[in-house]
Symmetry: C2
Subunit: 206 residues, 2 copies
């Protein structure tokens, strides 16, 4: 593509580095910003830069935060005895969006994956164990992806926490609400028959 | 959507203001940038801001440019006697991408549209006439969109240039190459029959 200006070419190339944005879309975004006034575009650029430079990690749960502690850890209404362990900050957003969870989080920063060279030491597992011991946490919910790496991490963490009184739970797996049986994969359907619940527990565990 | 941090929320909102980008896509872009290192993201933000603040308009053709004159106007190999008149800088990129055009451009900055309050005085028509007179231009190609406003502008410009010796031409309209007759709209097909060409002119006007 020929650009009338190096400035535009640079801007298009920067946008095109983002996932899912090609050169044509990048050009459309640049065109849009060229029509906006100067302060608006400056504000755009500064907000993006600042987001990356000023972001911190919560010293307790390692979630992304504006300050030394995140909003969830600082909130007195949150149950500090209940920790939801997730691999990534995206998962915190996903759980928060349910609006149902009232405990705190612990972001591991990934899952154990020898093939990618990620061992337990690179993850925030030690700090989780410390938290559980110091706060006498009642329950740790392991909300990791149902992959081999996720399952390995759950196994490792539950072993590490064996000497404490904490109850380690995992998310319920099964047919999703609104899902049609016809389209459910075989493994999920087989497992959801094997781990079937009494009807009185259908909508919530006692 | 719940965000763990105001910084991330601001960044997501800024991305979501761009055309074709919703909140979910914006979040995905922010996630991507959060994983990049600080200098990369700073460079991204600065490139976008600089593009808007430092951009200039070519004093001759009013195309976007890094300097007082654009690359096309400065290029000695470009035919200064041939001017392609377009409404927008996007159209310059479109014509440049053909790699076939060796003349110069003139960006009007829009087309005459009384309904939007755009009259000839708001467009770069006067400077076009001045250029044609001063440079003794041989041909002006009106490459405007085939809309009522575009046609009005072509009519207005051609009238303004009547007292000069310049030849005013418009882009050929007709069935596009690779287009199937079955799917061509009636107006285009009817016009392309009415303005049919001798076969020897099929691939290039003499």
């Amino acid at each position: 593509m020929n650009f009338p200006s190096k400035l535009i070419e640079d801007a298009v190339n920067e946008f095109a580095k983002l996932p899912g944005i090609g050169k044509k879309t990048a050009l459309r975004l640049v065109m849009h910003l060229l029509k906006a006034d100067v302060p608006t575009v400056k504000h755009f650029g500064e907000t993006i830069s600042r987001m990356r430079t000023d972001i911190k990690f919560c010293s307790t749960c390692h979630n992304l935060s504006d300050h030394d502690q995140c909003q969830v850890c600082l909130d007195p209404r949150r149950d500090k005895q209940l920790i939801c362990v997730v691999s990534d900050f995206k998962d915190v957003i996903a759980v928060e969006n349910t609006g149902q969870y009232k405990g705190t989080y612990h972001v591991l920063g990934g899952v154990i994956s020898p093939i990618d060279g990620i061992g337990p030491d690179q993850l925030q597992i030690e700090s989780l164990c410390k938290r559980v011991r110091e706060d006498e946490t009642k329950e740790v919910i392991m909300a990791l992806d149902p992959t081999m790496e996720g399952d390995t991490t759950v196994f490792y963490v539950s072993k590490k926490l064996k000497d404490t009184k904490v109850r380690v739970t995992t998310l319920a797996r099964g047919v999703s609400f609104g899902g049609e049986l016809e389209y459910v994969d075989e493994l999920t359907l087989a497992r959801s028959i094997a781990t079937r619940l009494p009807y009185e527990n259908y909508l919530g565990k006692k």
